[in-house]
């Protein structure tokens, strides 16, 4: 099997733009920037608005995307730049893409008007047809379609090996990493761009998680402190993309690796009390994890958060344990890639040598990544 290394990182969130901004925020330990007013009573972590022109040159392209696609496209550009491949058209034309994506984003005004009108419509079905036909922007469909984040990355950045989009909340982020790592390690492909993006600043996203009772509705508190007060997650807007490649491929093109991805595990099970901790301990054992730092994807949701915390303390008693959400909020599909980005950056700085990144989905799915020195 071939070694898989991280050679590019693109990260954007409420903590800022780029790896350095995130490491500085991690070091400061300050609470992440939180907006408690716009969607009150639901806090969100708003993204540090980037200068999109820097990574998405054409305004016409920017107009074709809703915010989650733009954030992803921007972070993908940062990752390509970081890997030193941004201007290598030939390499990008054989670079593969695995994107963890949700989708959606709606025209909120149109939805509201339709819901209001439906109440008094003589024939609600016909009213719905007529309003959707006249009020929906034709291009909104493409701006909300799951695989069009990948499509836009191909268009804007010329990454055209081929793309595959995985869906399924947190699990899709970890599975994107798992499948890319496996394809590189086995020799099926050489180089990948992998990641995800999330826009939390939208009521339809809040709606889904509020129906399930998952949202934290008080001022910001650290992830580990929330279960004692009922628990809940705070969504964050952000995106993370990574360039992964075989060690041979990186060496041949003279690239410097941040770190190596030694293994990725991901699974699902019917949860019960304590089962998440058991699964994490079993996965850490499979990975041979000996972490001196943990980047946890913990959400703050009651039950699974304490369960994970206990497991992490047991399996990594001497490690520094960080919750990625305390830095960037919960970015759903992008959370596992962001955890790996932070782990790889810490290792590259010499501040850690063996990292464990966890991903316990708010509702289902448990995964882990072991990140080690590039060697």
């Amino acid at each position: 099997m071939r070694d898989v290394v991280v050679t590019g990182i693109g990260l954007i969130s409420c903590a800022g733009e780029g790896v350095e901004a995130h490491l500085a925020a991690l070091k400061s330990g300050a609470a992440p920037r939180t907006d408690i007013e716009t969607f009150a009573p639901y806090p969100v972590h708003p993204v540090a608005q980037p200068d999109y022109d820097k990574q998405i040159a054409k305004k016409a392209d920017q107009r074709q995307m809703e915010p989650w696609q733009k954030l992803g496209c921007f972070a993908a550009g940062l990752a390509l730049e970081s890997a030193g491949v941004k201007d290598d058209a030939d390499l990008k034309s054989r670079m593969h893409l695995v994107v963890a994506a949700g989708g959606g984003e709606r025209d909120y005004a149109v939805d509201g008007q339709i819901l209001t009108g439906l109440r008094s419509a003589d024939n609600p079905g016909v009213f719905l047809n007529e309003r959707l036909m006249s009020d929906l922007r034709p291009t909104l469909f493409l701006a909300q379609l799951s695989n069009l984040l990948a499509g836009n990355i191909s268009i804007v950045h010329g990454v055209t090996g081929a793309s595959r989009t995985f869906m399924g909340e947190e699990s899709s982020g970890i599975d994107a990493l798992r499948v890319a790592q496996a394809r590189i390690a086995s020799g099926q492909n050489d180089i990948f761009l992998v990641g995800g993006a999330y826009n939390a600043e939208r009521p339809d996203a809040l709606l889904i998680y509020e129906m399930g009772g998952f949202l934290w509705k008080k001022p910001h508190r650290p992830v580990w402190d929330r279960p004692a007060d009922g628990g809940g997650l705070i969504l964050g807007s952000g995106a993370c993309f990574l360039v992964l490649e075989s060690r041979e491929h990186a060496t041949a093109r003279g690239a410097t690796a941040f770190a190596a991805i030694t293994g990725v595990t991901s699974d699902r099970h019917r949860r019960n009390a304590g089962s998440v901790g058991e699964k994490l301990r079993a996965q850490a054992a499979v990975l041979g994890a000996k972490p001196d730092v943990v980047l946890s994807g913990a959400t703050g949701v009651k039950g699974i958060t304490e369960d994970e915390q206990a497991a992490l303390k047991a399996l990594a008693p001497n490690a520094a344990i960080h919750a990625t959400a305390d830095l960037i909020g919960h970015t759903m599909e992008a959370q596992a890639p962001a955890g790996v980005a932070l782990a790889a950056a810490l290792i590259a700085k010499g501040e850690a040598s063996d990292a464990l990144v966890t991903s316990v989905g708010h509702w289902r799915g448990e995964g882990a990544v072991r990140v080690t020195k590039a060697g």
């Binding site: 439906l118 469909f141 989905g361």
Partner: protein
């Protein structure tokens, strides 16, 4: 022989299942497909007044409650997988491998939005603030699970006891083919000896239809529903949405033989290529599509001359059929004029996320049955596309190797090669 020309484990198909608008189960679907029967009809599921397109290949006799895309998509997936696993002889509730499932991107639908708006009690203008307030009561808890992206896969994984984290994926209209490709790759890596690969789509609802309609992608020839999907014809004017589910049990050929399974055929090659030209249109030079076909042939260790039939993407849109014809001609050269190529979508409609998997099953049946399904509604040939589209009537033919094309929005091009036996 358990390894292919590249030294990788051969991937055998040991079970297949399908449900479409022309039949439940592969026998019924195949019988209708080779009889040239269309499943396209006037939509009865919701009012069609005010719509430009009023027809689709809906599956109306599969009932789910509440009726919505994720529920119907899950049900179609389960029906197809039950048939496929049943044929394979593997246990129905303890599948010994991974699940790769192409599912339509889900989101909350209008009946649910309306229920929330009503529960909000807002008598004036409804906004998302009202809807959010209604959501906080806990009475809609089940809809969180219903409308998140991973749920269909999770439920299917539970039903059949597949192993590991299931992959839900989308590569738009090539999704079904990508699900198969992911399964093939996992078996070749030695990660698993079996994979359950599914494509499913039950998303003919007002907003989904209107979205495609606003992109001018759909046929508006509503008057004769079963005549609307006319791939490769001069008067084609768009695709017709369809619903369907298809499942394939893939196995490492060696372990399949060791357990005495009947091998229905092989997935010999997969090819893909991204296109960065435009969100909905292909590169004018057709290179991404051409490359995907060539990669699939090379992956299968075959030359263009080995292919005996092409199961076309064949959507019936002016753009796709022209590009597909020219891409195939670039690869197959003069032989393309006599190489049979037909579109299942002329009868089933475009089952979107499911199409690549549905057409994989039909490709393998073509090989197994020695009969090529037709392209129906072929009355006005397009002189710009001089192909043998197997017009209107099925044809008996021995076919050893089939190429199946799938192309999608977002620059997705995925091609698969199936064979009765490896060459």
């Amino acid at each position: 022989m358990a390894y292919d020309k590249h030294g990788r484990p051969l991937v055998a198909v040991t079970g297949m299942g399908v449900v479409t608008s022309i039949g439940q189960g592969k026998n019924d679907t195949w019988a209708a497909l080779t009889a040239g029967k269309s499943g396209i009809r006037r939509i009865s599921r919701f009012p069609v007044e005010g719509l430009r397109t009023t027809i689709a290949g809906t599956i109306d006799d599969v009932k789910v409650d509440p009726f919505c895309a994720p529920m119907l998509s899950e049900r179609l997936a389960v029906l197809a997988a039950e048939e496929a696993i049943g044929q394979s002889g593997l246990a129905l509730n303890d599948f010994p491998g991974a699940l790769f499932i192409a599912v339509p991107p889900v989101e909350m639908e209008w009946p649910q939005r309306e229920a929330l708006a009503k529960a909000s009690g807002q008598p004036g203008d409804v906004t998302y603030a009202d809807v959010l307030k209604a959501a906080s009561g806990g009475q809609f808890k089940a809809w969180h699970d219903l409308f998140i992206f991973g749920t269909v896969a999770d439920r299917v994984a539970d039903t059949f006891g597949t192993k590991g984290s299931p992959i839900s994926l989308s590569t738009a209209c090539s999704s079904g083919a990508t699900a198969i490709q992911l399964g093939v790759e996992a078996i070749r890596r030695g990660e698993t000896n079996a994979a359950l690969c599914i494509g499913t789509d039950g998303s003919v609802n007002p907003e989904s239809l209107i979205r495609f309609s606003l992109l001018s992608a759909l046929s508006t020839q509503n008057d004769v529903p079963d005549g609307a999907s006319k791939p490769f014809s001069k008067n084609r004017d768009g695709f017709v949405m369809g619903e369907g589910g298809a499942a394939l049990v893939l196995e490492n050929a060696e372990s399949a033989k060791a357990r005495g399974a009947k091998i229905l055929g092989y997935v010999l090659g997969c090819g893909e290529k991204g296109d960065g030209f435009h969100r909905t249109r292909s590169s004018p030079d057709g290179m991404p599509g051409i490359t995907a076909i060539r990669e699939a042939l090379a992956d299968a260790g075959l030359s263009p001359d080995d292919i005996g039939y092409i199961n076309a993407h064949g959507t019936s849109t002016p753009e796709n059929d022209k590009m597909e014809a020219s891409s195939c001609t670039s690869v197959f050269g003069e032989r393309m004029a006599s190489l049979p190529i037909s579109s299942n979508k002329s009868m089933i409609g475009h089952t979107l996320t499911a199409a690549g998997a549905v057409e994989a099953v039909m490709s393998l049946l073509t090989i197994g049955e020695g009969r090529i399904p037709p392209t129906i509604n072929y009355a006005v040939p397009d002189p710009a596309i001089p192909l043998d589209v197997v017009p209107n009537v099925a044809r008996d033919a021995r076919v050893d190797f089939v190429l199946s094309n799938s192309f999608g929005f977002g620059g997705q091009n995925t091609c698969l090669v199936f064979g009765a036996e490896p060459k």
